[in-house]
């Protein structure tokens, strides 16, 4: 029976083309324009899902974003998507969907036993049991029973995109309100973005073909509006785009589905799957419409039960009969629209059951005139039918609406639609912290006060339901926004589009919990939150147990916490709670609206910031050389630094040993370009540095360099480096690789905020210079071959700087050393870095020049006991702890100084930097090893006296060496300590933190 429920004509579908798709293995046809839901209904498929907790059979409940039931698993791994709302999935050729959360099949789901045991598992049952013997025995099965669809198992092959956008007016919602607003604002020349989650503009008009705007069918108006918007150069219309979040300062998040609606073979490879927009809007107009509220009656969840407006949508927009024989259940005039639609499109209308005592509106009158049987003052007391609705039971209500009379008269029907009024879609408004008021006449929450500037809510979202009022309101709001943004209509007043006001929304009879023939919870269930299987009885139980705040009710029962976030259920839940507590609905209040409006793909949040774009990789001018020479790289902040250069057959240890030895035996070369560099100029530069560093720089001679230490105001070491005086009023500071940006900001902060009187300018030149360090006894000989400079110690002593040419390139050369060897740090403009490096390597061949990486550098400096900030320090170490009192000036104030004299800083048992030598010199302590005083096996907690910060095999010392921070370490020289590891204990001796060339002869080479 292909598409046997498709009406012969009408609808916004392309009947000329058929699309083949499968649901749960069965093949069906639909048309372009269909959603998965409309196509299933066209084929008479109502059963599409099982519920979360009780595994009840569920059908298609709505026609849009609010769908609680019809969640399906789309596609196959790796492109599988769980929990997709069939009502929002656009049909494409070859679509394949499966039912989820059922076993072995949708029709026969064994898990339905939970339904039988439902009495044992009311809300919150898990808090009351499973404690004995332990939760761990129960957690596994419970986890497996929970969840809905399945996460993909394979990595997602798709790409996502992200962008920023700016506009004068952002209009959310492409219904009549949104269209009118976009047109009005767009015509003024303002920059407008209109977003609509659907693939078509028109909103509720798409389901109401008979309405007229400006004297023509509304469909024509929509078409013309869309056409006109396309001609306005400053207007952008985004369809298939959901505004999911409203953040502070009018930043809104949009999710655009770019290719999801194409058949897989049609998806353009260059396009992302989805795109996230972050729109900064001058003004925001929310025209998000309203969502119909279902009635809560017994067994209100069977396939074949849906919202009244959804039935109209399926009939009118998709030309699908949602059933053969229908009952309409309503508490307001709106239900009659569905009744009239159903009747006129050939559905057998069994009855309208109206909670109201009388129905007197224009639609109900028309319904009566058309001979539709109407029972006012009646309620639906229950339903039957397992996999599809079979019967509806109805009975008369008492005057108070609390009880029904009689046993319930059955009516055969396979479709039951209900209308309990409308909830303005205030989600985005509330996300932006707008407050709500309860409108008694409309019985709904509508926007009250805005908490964002330049914001308006119009149309049904604002509780304005009459079409002509909607158009007027939207038009006015848009003009006001455009005007405030500096765009006017140019004098001539533009008029709002007109329509005949339809007063089809009359007061309703507010009954949030429809009574049944049996007490609540007996012989059936009144579902409030269908997706989470929360019933009215659950809500009452929660309140009985003391969970009375609506927030507690929500969390105890989980109502509104499912993927639909309670779009159709929250107000009913609040109504039931209010009724039970004897409060008004606004007194109970709403729970917090949070982003997203509908769920957003993680991939879209990440956009292209994945894989190697997650974080930039910064590279030095010599990077390509390191790569070509087989370097292994280490990440230091965002930088890629050459770590070591293994030669054929070498492991890391062998390579590092070779590099370390070469630097001491002949000459090594290191790429040090990543060091931070800051040019400092001004008459107060020296004074400034004196305040920043613990030691004095104002007395430094021009051409000379000095090592300095910086502290934060809490006295803890923050960065270190060598600073050189280039001229009387010019210095060049170097910082650690990782600290460069922080130091620059730190300096600027002090200059701009605390010492604006100091005349100092700073400019970062980190990447202006390629820096290569040659180190070792042959460093001077090597350099001499490439420069004319006089390299003798007399004219170029340790800790000084010279300018000259190296390999024909103008260079700054610093004679400073982080290895303890005679070293030159050669700086050339980055564009020449590689050339000079290659020249040094070429000429260095005769000295067997050896490139060494950061690991060898670490070993070399550890042999000399030089610290590395971030390794020997961790934000809790002072210069005194490091034994660097020599660098802490007593004569002047500097940042952090006062902190050093606080009582705890002076304690003798503070952790202090020492060296460690293992008893067995071949044994290398693991870094991070904790030190204890005794190796007797005692039970934890075992007091620790310190830890190893750095530890290496030192080929130059012929044994392992380590640096450590040890409590009162300086008084422990020669003491024995033990590194207590999980599998062994290593004994070692405390020494000075200096292992090689203790007199420092080599430095002066």
């Amino acid at each position: 029976m292909p598409q046997s429920f498709r009406l012969p004509e009408g609808g916004l579908i392309d009947r000329a083309r058929s699309l083949r798709f499968t649901f749960d293995g069965r093949s069906f046809d639909g048309h372009p324009g269909d959603t998965l839901a409309s196509a299933l209904l066209a084929n008479g498929v109502h059963l599409v899902a099982r519920s979360f907790k009780y595994h009840r059979p569920r059908g298609i409940f709505s026609a849009g974003a609010e769908e609680p039931n019809a969640l399906v698993q789309l596609g196959e791994d790796p492109r599988t998507d769980p929990n997709q709302r069939a009502t929002q999935v656009e049909l494409f050729d070859g679509l394949s969907a499966k039912a989820q959360h059922c076993w072995p099949s949708l029709e026969v789901d064994f898990n339905q036993v939970t339904s039988l045991a439902s009495r044992l598992i009311p809300s919150g049952f898990y808090y009351k049991t499973f404690m004995w013997p332990s939760w761990k025995y129960f957690e596994g099965p419970i986890r497996r029973a929970a969840g809905l669809g399945k996460a993909p198992r394979l990595p997602d092959p798709d790409r996502y995109d992200k962008c920023f956008a700016h506009c004068d007016v952002l209009v959310v919602g492409g219904g009549p309100a949104g269209l009118a607003a976009a047109l009005a604002a767009g015509r003024t020349g303002a920059r407008v973005i209109l977003v609509e989650q659907d693939n078509r503009l028109g909103g509720s008009l798409l389901s109401a073909p008979e309405t007229q705007i400006e004297g023509a069918p509304s469909a024509d108006w929509v078409r013309e509006a869309e056409a006109e918007l396309a001609t306005l150069p400053e207007v952008k219309v985004l369809k298939r785009t959901t505004c999911f979040a409203y953040y502070d300062h009018n930043l809104l998040g949009l999710l655009e589905k770019v290719t999801d609606h194409y058949a897989p073979y049609d998806r353009p490879a260059e396009l992302p799957r989805q795109r996230m927009w972050r729109v900064r809007a001058g003004h925001v107009i929310l025209a998000t419409g309203a969502i119909e509220r279902p009635l809560v009656f017994r067994d209100n969840d069977r396939p074949g039960i849906m919202l009244a407006s959804a039935a109209s949508s399926y009939l009118n927009r998709w030309a699908v009969k949602p059933g053969s024989r229908a009952v309409v259940f309503t508490n307001n005039e709106g239900g009659y629209r569905a009744a009239l639609d159903l009747k006129s499109r050939g559905v057998d209308l069994a009855a309208v059951i109206d909670l109201q005592l009388a129905a007197e509106g224009p639609l109900s009158r028309r319904a009566r005139d058309e001979g539709i049987p109407i029972k006012t003052g009646y309620a639906v007391t229950g339903t039957s039918g397992h996999l599809r609705l079979k019967k509806v039971f109805v009975a008369p209500l008492d005057g108070a609406g609390k009880r029904v009379f009689g046993g319930g008269e059955p009516i055969e029907a396979d479709l039951l639609v209900s209308s309990g009024g409308w909830n303005p879609t205030v989600h985005l408004f509330c996300q932006s912290k707008g407050t709500l008021e309860w409108d008694d006449s409309l019985a709904c929450f509508r926007p009250d006060a805005s908490m964002q500037r330049n914001q308006a809510v119009v149309g049904a979202a604002n509780g304005t339901f009459g079409l002509s009022s909607v158009l007027v309101e939207a038009h006015a709001a848009a003009l006001a926004a455009a005007d405030a943004a500096g765009f006017s209509t140019g004098g001539e007043a533009s008029t709002a589009p007109t329509s005949v006001e339809e007063r089809d929304f009359l007061p309703m009879r507010e009954i949030y919990l429809v009574p049944s023939i049996k007490p609540l919870g007996q012989g059936g269930k009144h579902f409030v939150d269908q997706q989470h299987d929360v019933t009215a009885a659950d809500l009452l139980l929660a309140m009985r147990e003391g969970y009375r705040s609506i927030e507690h009710v929500k969390r105890y029962t989980t109502t509104g916490m499912a993927t639909d976030q309670g779009k159709t259920s929250n107000v009913a839940a609040i109504g039931i709670v209010a009724e039970h507590l004897g409060k008004t609905v606004p007194e109970v209040g709403v729970t917090t609206f949070r982003p997203p409006y509908t769920a957003v793909t993680f991939g879209a949040f990440a956009g292209r910031d994945v894989d190697d774009f997650l974080d930039p990789e910064r590279t030095t001018p010599m990077h390509a050389w390191h790569r070509a020479h087989g370097a292994a790289f280490e990440d230091v902040g965002q930088w890629k630094r050459a770590w070591y250069y293994p030669q054929a057959g070498e492991d890391m240890a062998a390579a590092v040993n070779r590099e370390v030895k070469a630097a001491r035996d002949s000459v090594g070369i290191l790429d040090a370009s990543t060091l931070g560099k800051i040019e400092i100029r001004g008459p107060d530069a020296g004074v400034f540095l004196d305040r920043i560093y613990t030691n004095v720089f104002s007395t430094l001679k021009v051409g000379r360099a000095r090592y300095g230490l910086m502290l934060k105001e809490d006295g803890m070491v923050f960065d270190d480096g060598v600073t050189t005086r280039l001229a009387e009023d010019r210095y060049l500071m170097t910082t650690t690789t990782g600290g460069a940006a922080n130091v620059m900001s730190w300096l600027e902060e002090w200059l701009q905020t605390e010492w604006p009187d100091l005349k100092v300018y700073l400019t970062s030149v980190t990447e202006q210079w390629a820096t290569m360090t040659i180190s070792g006894p042959n460093a001077r000989a090597l350099l001499a071959e490439l420069t004319e400079l006089d390299l003798s110690t007399d004219s170029f002593p340790h800790m000084s700087m010279a300018e000259g040419e190296v390999a024909g390139v103008k260079a700054r050369i610093f004679r400073i050393s982080f290895t303890g060897e005679l070293s030159y740090e050669i700086n050339v403009p980055s564009r020449y870095g590689l050339a000079v490096w290659q020249a040094l390597i070429r000429v260095g061949q005769k000295y067997a020049i050896t490139p060494y990486g950061t690991e060898a550098m670490h070993v070399l400096r550890a042999e000399k006991g030089f610290i590395i900030v971030g390794q020997e320090t961790d934000g809790s170490v002072t210069p005194l702890d490091l034994g660097m009192n020599w660098i802490v000036s007593k004569k002047k104030d500097f940042l952090g100084r006062r902190s050093l004299s606080r009582p705890d800083m002076l304690k003798a048992d503070r952790k202090q930097l020492v060296g460690l030598l293992t008893e067995d010199g071949r044994e290398v302590l693991p870094e991070g090893a904790q030190l204890v005083e005794s190796n007797h096996d005692i039970r934890p907690p075992i007091p620790m006296v310190g830890h190893v910060t750095s530890s290496y095999w030192s080929p130059n010392c012929g044994q392992s060496i380590a640096l450590a921070l040890v409590k009162g370490g300086r008084d422990r020289m020669g003491e024995r300590l033990y590194a207590a590891l999980p599998d062994r204990t290593i004994s070692c001796t405390v020494t000075e933190p200096l292992f090689f060339d203790k007199t420092g002869e080599r430095l002066h080479g």
Partner: protein, 205 residues
């Protein structure tokens, strides 16, 4: 003067010169080109000091823009970008910054000011074509609409996760993007990827 062949663009590993075209292909929405070796001198000084302002103007033959985001001069020749209330870039088509550095240094003399050659600290890319704004919108939170930005304007911001100085060159629109040299490879690849949906022509520099 150092031999030309000694110098390297940070994108030399991509061998762009070999693959590049001379102009944007008709069907491509954007074109991308590297612009290495332009002179970029960072200038700091007191805009309220008339002596300083005059000294600079005399040395460069260009007015010193005073409002952050303003640019004076010729984007393809010599220009001054105002980056901060006391910070400018002097950029120049010349690939040797030294003469300009020298004349600026002399011009400021003992004034409280700073002249630093940062030509190699930065790396410039040019992005042009009808979709150039769309590509930038993926990376950068600035509003580049012609009503708020345009030729003779510059701004500092972010290019995805890299700090960037952006300037618009003309109404094509064409933009020049400066990132720190170490981010060159990241920025290039990022933009090529982001432009993919519109088509990217690679131009010779």
């Amino acid at each position: 003067m150092v031999e030309d062949f000694l110098r390297q663009s940070p994108l030399s590993h991509l061998a762009l010169a070999a693959s590049g075209r001379s102009q944007r292909a008709e069907e491509d929405g954007v074109a991308l080109a590297e612009r290495p070796y332009r002179t970029v001198i960072t200038l700091r000084g007191q805009a309220e000091d008339a002596v300083f302002v005059e000294a600079i103007q005399r040395a460069l033959g260009l007015g010193l823009p005073r409002k952050v985001g303003q640019v004076s001069g010729d984007p393809r020749g010599r220009e001054i970008l105002c980056l901060g209330p006391d910070e400018w870039w002097v950029t120049d088509a010349a690939d040797d910054a030294e003469p300009l550095v020298t004349s600026l240094t002399e011009a400021v003399g003992d004034l409280f000011a700073q002249v630093v050659d940062t030509s190699d600290n930065w790396f410039a890319l040019e992005l042009s074509g009808p979709r150039a704004r769309d590509v930038l919108a993926k990376a950068c939170p600035l509003d580049l609409h012609p009503r708020t930005f345009g030729p003779a304007r510059c701004a500092q911001s972010l290019l995805a996760k890299a700090p960037m100085t952006l300037q618009q060159l003309d109404d094509t629109p064409a933009f020049r993007l400066h990132v720190r040299r170490s981010f060159a490879d990241y920025a290039w690849r990022w933009l090529s990827d982001a432009g993919r949906e519109y088509g990217v022509s690679i131009l010779q520099s």
